[in-house]
């Protein structure tokens, strides 16, 4: 059974004419132990997807099974407990509490679990050892460099032994050296059997992932298995295609935008199937290993495809 199972999850913001479709019937399943990189342009719904998976946000429609249990409709307090016990967050801006020491920051999730101070500090100490910051225990967050702060954040995410670690552009504020340290740490954590979801703009970082998902307009438009150490093909294409796009092309409007969709080829499979008119829920890409099913596409997308 998949660890994460999103079934036609949609997220709408706003009302009436101002409604924005942030997630459009997304279907996704992630197995335990995967390192999934999520890529896509700004506003493509990557962060919304992470927030839904991390139970920070509720989907408007659809269901979200975490380890086989539907958690999307639980009460806020129950969701808080799921976040505490099963999900670890690493944010772009570290999000450490400035008034707490490094040790207290790392130990905070355990405090919310009700663990005694002595035990949780010991545990936090051990985790800090793991990320190589044992000697910074009593520093305040402002005394740390960006890379160190992010490693502390990772330690905090790890402390409850979560099922998933969600890293939303963890290297966005870091220079290349710090980025490398942080990514190596995440890779290390992945090697120990943890599941990681990584949102990134940087194609280079797909080297650490064994699966890359491309998003656009709230839909998953591509899903690619890669070997760890290699840059994903789609990512490289985006990488190079991007450079070709001129300002003129952008002002052409939607069609120009569509030309820039990363992983267009990959997304073509569902399109074909849509033409065949099979019920969407039963679509299953042939030749993919179980658990790496791609279910992308929606009515909206199909209509656009037809027009073209």
């Amino acid at each position: 059974m998949a660890l994460i199972e999103l079934q036609e999850v949609s997220k709408l913001y706003g009302f009436g004419d101002a409604t924005v479709l942030a997630l459009d019937e997304v279907i996704l399943s992630v197995d335990k132990g995967e390192f999934v990189a999520v890529m896509g342009p700004s506003g493509s719904g990557k962060t919304t997807l992470m927030n839904v998976i991390g139970l920070l946000d509720r989907p408007t429609h659809g269901s979200y099974l975490l380890d086989g249990r539907n958690v999307a409709r639980r009460r806020p307090n129950q969701q808080a407990k799921v976040r505490r016990d099963r999900i670890g967050f690493v944010f772009q801006s570290y999000n450490l509490l400035a008034r707490l020491s490094v040790l207290e920051n790392v130990a905070l999730p355990l405090a919310y679990k009700g663990m005694t101070p002595v035990r949780r500090q010991k545990r936090a100490s051990d985790i800090l050892e793991l990320v190589g910051l044992r000697d910074r225990e009593y520093f305040m967050p402002r005394q740390l460099s960006g890379g160190q702060a992010q490693r502390v954040a990772i330690a905090r995410a790890l402390i409850n032994k979560p099922s998933i670690i969600i890293a939303d552009e963890p290297t966005g504020n870091l220079d290349s050296t710090d980025s490398k340290v942080v990514m190596e740490l995440l890779a290390d954590i992945h090697r120990q059997g943890n599941t990681i979801l990584l949102v990134t703009h940087n194609p280079e970082l797909t080297r650490y992932a064994n699966r890359v998902i491309y998003m656009h307009d709230g839909m998953i438009v591509g899903d690619e298995q890669t070997a760890i150490g290699n840059m994903a093909k789609g990512a490289r294409r985006t990488h190079f295609q991007r450079r070709k796009v001129t300002d003129d092309e952008i002002v052409e409007g939607v069609s120009a935008l569509m030309r820039d969709v990363p992983g267009k080829e990959l997304a073509s499979k569902p399109k074909k199937k849509a033409k065949r008119g099979r019920p969407r829920t039963k679509k299953r890409p042939v030749g993919r290993p179980a658990g790496h099913r791609l279910k992308a596409g929606s009515r909206q997308r199909r209509e656009k495809a037809k027009k073209r």
């Binding site: 808080a80 967050f89 409850n160």
Partner: protein, 405 residues
């Protein structure tokens, strides 16, 4: 969890030291003023009851005016009766003297006057016109010289201890002469300092009064003939009989009217206590308004704190804090503010009490009860005014809170 929350709360309050102090100020002022007023009231009650008890339980007080049933007036005592002309006269005194159940009778009348000596002049003193038995009846000790022995007109007076010091600059001024309302008198005795406070039986401070026979006092006021109050002492334990006898006798002399009041000691105690209680409650009610204002100040600063720390709330929720845990965090912070304010307020009121004791004749009494109430009230204020901000914090949507800068 709670100790951790408390530590965090103190840390957060420390981070905004100036703001926390100013917010606490409201509570400090409120608590210290309430505690001071209540302890002043307590002290006053102690003084009054102490003085009344000193008289002995078989002393009966007869006052002019009718005691108004229940409720009307303060503690059933018609305060205005004091202002109107007294209905008690010499005949009443004689009638009471004849009763077999009464041991001794002392009339008491006050005349406001001024006194002078060769050294200085004192305005606003009380001349008490009374009889020679007064010192005995009130168990009032004489420090120097003696109390006057006869009720006849003489030029001898007995003075209170403060008058002796202030007017004559001497502890033992027996034999000196003083001028009272133009007439010259010789000091025959000085009373020992009495524990008299503001409200005594005679509604005056014996320490700053001049005592002389009733007839003399009357000659100072152009022959007014009524008596403000009469004190009588019953024989042994015939207290109730004496009260009845006095009532009957006075009704006769007053032509069947009951325009007087006969009070036993404990009734007087009750009345004095009631008056003090009512005044204390009234003033502490006013002081409590500042506590309310302080509470609103706390609520204000807590709301500011919640919106300032929206992002922190978001982070805490993201790593698994439940609504309850966020609520507790902010409740405890508000509680720490008010509890701190309450404790500092109590300390401040202790200092104020000390100052009052040293520089005034007031003797505030702080009891454990007052402490507990003060701290309890500040905790209640803390919780009441922190609930709204804490709920606001707890109900924040994690994702919106995280996006907040």
């Amino acid at each position: 969890m709670w100790s951790g929350n408390f530590k965090t709360a103190i840390g957060n309050l420390r981070a905004n030291k100036g703001r926390s102090m100013l917010t606490m100020m409201g509570i400090i002022i409120g608590v210290s003023s309430v505690v001071t007023v209540v302890s002043l009231g307590e002290g006053l009650k102690h003084q009054v009851t102490g003085q009344i008890n000193q008289l002995g339980s078989n002393v009966i007080t007869i006052r002019s005016g009718k005691l108004v049933g229940n409720g009307s007036g303060i503690g059933g005592l018609n305060l205005l009766a004091f202002l109107s002309t007294s209905t008690l006269t010499d005949q009443d005194v004689q009638a009471i003297t004849k009763l077999s159940s009464v041991n001794s009778v002392v009339p008491i009348d006050f005349v406001g006057s001024s006194a002078g000596s060769d050294k200085r002049q004192l305005d606003n003193i009380f001349v008490v016109g009374t009889s020679s038995k007064m010192a005995d009846l009130l168990h009032q000790k004489v420090a120097y010289g003696s109390f006057f022995e006869s009720d006849d007109s003489t030029n001898k007076v007995v003075i209170g201890s403060s008058i002796a010091e202030e007017l004559l600059d001497e502890l033992n001024p027996v034999g000196h002469s003083v001028k009272i309302s133009g007439a010259t008198f010789v000091v025959q005795g000085v009373l020992a300092p009495s524990s008299g406070g503001l409200l005594s039986v005679a509604q005056t401070d014996f320490n700053s009064a001049v005592f002389m026979p009733l007839k003399n006092a009357r000659s100072l006021t152009n022959g007014r003939t009524n008596i403000l109050q009469i004190l009588a002492k019953s024989n042994g334990d015939e207290l109730d009989i004496a009260v009845n006898d006095i009532s009957t006798a006075l009704q006769k002399t007053h032509g069947g009217q009951t325009d007087f009041t006969v009070l036993k000691q404990y009734e007087l105690l009750g009345i004095a206590g009631n008056i003090v209680n009512t005044i204390t409650r009234f003033i502490s009610g006013i002081a409590a308004i500042s506590l309310l204002v302080g509470g609103i100040g706390i609520m204000d600063i807590m709301l500011v704190s919640v919106s300032e720390r929206t992002r922190e709330i978001g982070i805490r929720k993201a790593i698994g804090a439940t609504n309850r845990q966020i609520l507790n965090q902010f409740l405890i912070e508000g509680l720490a503010l008010t509890l701190g304010g309450g404790v500092i307020g109590v300390i401040a009121s202790l200092i104020i009490n000390g100052v009052l004791r040293v520089y005034t004749s007031l003797q505030p009494a702080i009891t454990l009860q007052i402490f507990i109430i003060a701290v309890g009230v500040s905790v209640a204020v803390g919780i009441t005014f922190s609930v709204t901000p804490a709920l606001k914090a707890a109900r924040k949507n994690p994702i919106d809170a995280l996006r907040n800068e």
